[in-house]
Every structure is written in C-alpha cells, then in structure tokens.
Amino acid sequence: MIEDRTLNGRIFATVNYLLLSIIALLTVLPFMHVVAGSFTTSAELAVKRFILIPTEWSFEAYRFIFSTNTIFKAMGVSVGVTFFGTLFSMLITSLMAYGLARRDLDGRKYIMFLVVFTMLFSGGLIPSFLVVKEMGLIDSYLALIIPSTISAFNLIILKNFFQNIPEGLEESAKIDGCNDFGILFRIVLPLSMPAIATLSLFYAVTYWNTYLSAILYLNDSAKWPIQVLLRQIVVLASGLEYSPDLDASVPPPEQTVKMAVIVVATLPILCVYPFLQKHFAKGAMLGSIKG
C-alpha cells in the first residue's frame, strides 16, 4: 500500500489512529469490568463497584456455573440452533434477495413493499403463537428457527448488495448456459462475500439471542438455549424481578455469577466474528473476475 506522504496526510493519519484508539479503549473498559467482575469475589465487587483488574482473584463464580451440566446443554442448543438457523436463513434469504434484485422480475416492487410492511406491522404474540402451534412446532427446536427464517431488514440489505453487482456479469453467465440458480451460486454469491459474511453474522447473533420464542414455544426447559439461563440469572441478580413476597431464604444469584454467565454466554458468539472478518478484505475479488 502506498502511504500518503504529505504532511497533511500524516497529520490526518496520526489523528485518525489516536481517535480510534480512544474509542476502542472506551468501548472496552466496561467489558473489562464485566470480565474482571467474574474473576473476583462478590465482596470486592460490592465495595469497588467498578473494577478493571481484580485484587482478590476468585474462580468461584465459574466453578458455580459449571458445577451442573445445564449451561453446557443450553450452550449446545444455542450452538446448534445458531448454526443450522443461520444456514437455513441465509439460503432462503439469498434466494429471495437474488430474485428481488433482478430488475426484470415482474411484481418485485409490490413484493418489496409487502416485505417492508411486515417491518412496521405485526399481529402480536398470540396470533404468532397460534400459527406455530397449528404447524405442530411446539416443543420442537424448529420453532426457534422456522418462525424467524427471514429478517426483512437482512433481506433488503442483501438485495441491495446484489443489485450493485454489474449486470454484465450475469448476462455473460447466461450466455454461457447458466440458469438463475447457477448464476446465484457460481457468480453472485462468491462476489458478495463481504455481504454474505455480514448477514450471516447478523443472523447468527439473532439466533444466538433467541429468548422469547424459546419461552413461548418450548415447554420443556431442557431444550432452552443459553439466553434463557443468562437472562434469568441477570434479571434475578439485578433485582429486576425482585418480589419480597417470595421466599426470602432464596437469595438472588451473586453479582459475580451474573458477570461470569455473561462472559460464558457471549464468548462463543464473539468467536464467530474473527472467522468472518477475513471476508471483509475481499473486495479484490471483484476486480480479478472482471479482469
């Protein structure tokens, strides 16, 4: 890469690095507090309130949450739902987005409007529950995936990305005898890796955060994903669901346990990003195919 050697350019670069470093620091500090809080004692956390490095190290919180297999089971469910859900969603979304990105598709305007309409109007919890129930999805993992197959937002974004691919490429593929499926899978998708990576991440995060559908559609608590456990502990430990009429001999979970469960429940999804990150530098591909 050729660096900008002018004085202005250097000043710009320095300020840029400085600003970004400050921003990174600001975003990381509260997260450090959560991580540090999970490795300390509840006593230290109560006194200091905000800590970045524990003075009293303790692994008690982790020992506690890993002492049963609930968290592993829940994690397994979440990983499975996230993996298959993302795959399924990306497939259906790509198909639809590609169709709608083609300007010669009759009726695309109306379909797009109907899609946007669903972002604004929704029938609410009970009718959705009825549909899921009528489809026989209650107590099935599919209830966590199928009712949220397509996010209208993601669909619109992906369609927008597809639209920006030069149509000439598709034309030439057609002449080479590719049908629409061929064009999508051989040409359009490989050219849209940054978009595919981004939207996969969006879907993955949505699936990872599945909470309410699990509660509504799964009666069997053994099937609940990690977010249910996470939220239950956070809510109880934050005193949000505090009701003094409950039995007082049930103290809420420790603050350190709350921090630890956040760390454990967030770590796997954080690992997804670095894998996708490499695709963000793949702009070069477009040029190579063209050339």
Binding site: L20, L105, T118, T149, Q163, N164, H279
Partner: protein
C-alpha cells in the same frame, strides 16, 4: 436506468410480459419459499391487529370479543399526556437520527483509512463487543459510574472543583445519557455493514485515483462514499421506519419519577397503561398507531429517495 425500462414494458404487449415471466420462472421458484414464509409467519398473524378495534378477552378469542370501533384510539388521543409522550418519542427519534446514525458511517470511513492490518482487525473485534451486553448491564454499569452517591464520574467532577451533576434523576440529562449509551452500544456494531459495503468496492478504482494524484480525502469523497451511498440510504429509510422503536427496555431502565416528563415514550406508556394491566386491545391500538406513523414516514422517505434518483427500498 434499468428500472425505467421495466416500468415501460407493461404498457407494451401483454404477451411480451408473459414471455418474460416464463423466462424468469426460476426466479419465481427462488423467491417462493421466502414469500411463503412472509405469508405464513407475518401476514396470517396480522389478523391479530383486529383486536385494536375490540375489547379483546383472551378467553373469547378473536371472534368472540366485543367490537368497540375506535374506542382505544380515542382513549390514546385524549390521554392528557399524549402530546407530551409523542413529542418525547419524536425527540428521541430525532436525536437517534442526528447523533447516532452518522457515527457508524464515520467510524467505517476512519477505519478504512487505517493501513495497519493488525490495528484494523483489533479495532473491529473490540468495538462491536458492547452490542453483546444487554441494556440491564449497561444501565447498571452507567449507574455505578454516574450516581451522585460516590459514582466515579461525579467524584471526578468534584475533584476538578465543580458541582455534582444529577445525571440520573433529572430532565436535562436523560436524553444525553440515553444517546451516549446508544452510541456506545451500537456504533461499533453498526460499522460492520458499512465495512462490508466498502469491501465490495473495486480496488482498481482507488489505484486509478491514486495515479491521478487524488488525495485521501478526495478518494473518500469520490469513491468510498458513492460506493456505500445506496447502503446508507437504505439503512436511513429503514431507520426512519423504526421511528418509534427506541428500545423499550433501555428507556424503561433509565426512566424514573424524576425524569418521566422527558423520558416517558410511547413504548413505556404502553407498558404501564397496557401490558401491566393486561389491556391487550389498548396495547395493540397504540402499536397500530405507531406502525401507521412508521408507514407514513417510510413511504415519504422512500418517495424522496426515488425523487433523488435512488433505488429506495421498494
């Protein structure tokens, strides 16, 4: 350009249209599963909206409940605080648009100028972390830092010789605190999509520009920004459609008796007046009103975008 051709065709012979549809049959097969999804999981449940015009009782169901016309809408519009709540909602929305929306774009552009790959990657992996902390956690960490009862930031302010600032229990500070938290949590996450758009830019364009001696700023202005313009516009329209989605949980956690005058928004009102009282119909009616406002705004924004020669979202 291409759009224009499509618009013209239906005026031409219908047979040509049929031919085109037949030629595109595989495209229809491709969008079929998606359409089916929207029909089953989005449009069928929409019959639930009828309860906005009923006195819905869960046990009578959608058909058995009494029809009451616009009763719930009348209640909402005659609520003494209605205008205040609506304006609070719109102000927060405006602040979101003005202060939050540009941040991810600027961050993405700044990051695009970073040439050290390691720094770039590290930064990306760090700034999107906050998105994974729930509002409960963020608000409680903020409380600990901002409280006048020994919060770090107030201690610092005192140390510097100023008066303590009432961040948490005042009308003046609610909005700044809210928007800073939104930026803090979402800005890094929001850059991802722009980074993807930037990554799709043909590098040859930059090379050509450099050959012509274009400066950094000029490259940003003439290559990067135009490349992500359509994404920006689409996101802007979608954001406008989200006008009244300001994060219920977030606002509700910040809301207290001392800042309610500015912090009560439609979502929190629905919660106290509707949900907590089991008033299904009233809650739905308010939601319906919100959706209508969103629809009008989206249609307007989309119209404007098209006027300006953009694709829009539909």
């Amino acid at each position: 350009m291409q759009e224009a051709t499509v618009e013209r065709i239906p005026i031409a012979a219908g047979s040509e249209r049929k031919k085109r549809i037949w030629r595109n049959k595989w495209l229809y097969v491709m969008i079929a599963p998606g359409i089916l999804y929207f029909l089953i999981f989005k449009y069928i449940p929409m019959f639930g909206l009828v309860i906005a015009f009923q006195d819905f009782k869960p046990f009578f169901g959608f058909t058995g409940s009494e029809w009451v016309g616009f009763k719930h809408f009348t209640r909402l519009f005659t609520e003494p605080d209605f205008l205040n709540i609506l304006s609070n909602t719109l102000i927060l929305f405006g602040m979101n648009l003005l202060f939050y929306f540009p941040v991810p774009i600027i961050l993405a552009l700044m990051l695009n100028e970073v040439r050290i790959n390691f720094f770039k990657r590290l930064f990306q992996s760090l700034v999107y972390l906050p998105h994974f902390l729930s509002w409960v956690i963020i608000v409680s960490i903020s409380f600990v830092m901002l409280t006048m009862d020994g919060g770090i930031i107030n201690e610092l302010i005192v140390l510097l010789g100023f008066e303590k600032v009432n961040f948490l229990l005042s009308n003046e500070w609610f909005r700044p605190v809210y928007i800073i938290q939104v930026i803090w949590r979402e800005a890094g996450w929001g850059t991802i999509i722009y980074l993807a758009a930037i990554a799709s830019v043909d590098p040859q364009l930059y090379e050509a520009a450099r050959m012509d001696g274009a400066s950094r700023m000029r490259q940003v202005w003439h290559i990067t920004l135009p490349a992500i313009r359509s994404v920006i516009i689409v996101l802007l329209i979608l954001k406008i459609g989200d006008v009244l989605e300001l994060g219920f949980e977030h606002v509700y956690l910040l809301l207290n008796s001392m800042n309610r005058d500015v912090a009560e928004i439609i979502d929190t009102y629905v919660y106290t007046a509707g949900v907590r009282q089991g008033q299904f119909s009233y809650s739905t009616a308010i939601g319906f009103f919100k959706s209508l406002v969103g629809l009008v705004l989206v249609m307007f924004a989309n119209y404007l975008a098209k006027k300006m020669g953009e694709e829009g979202v539909y």
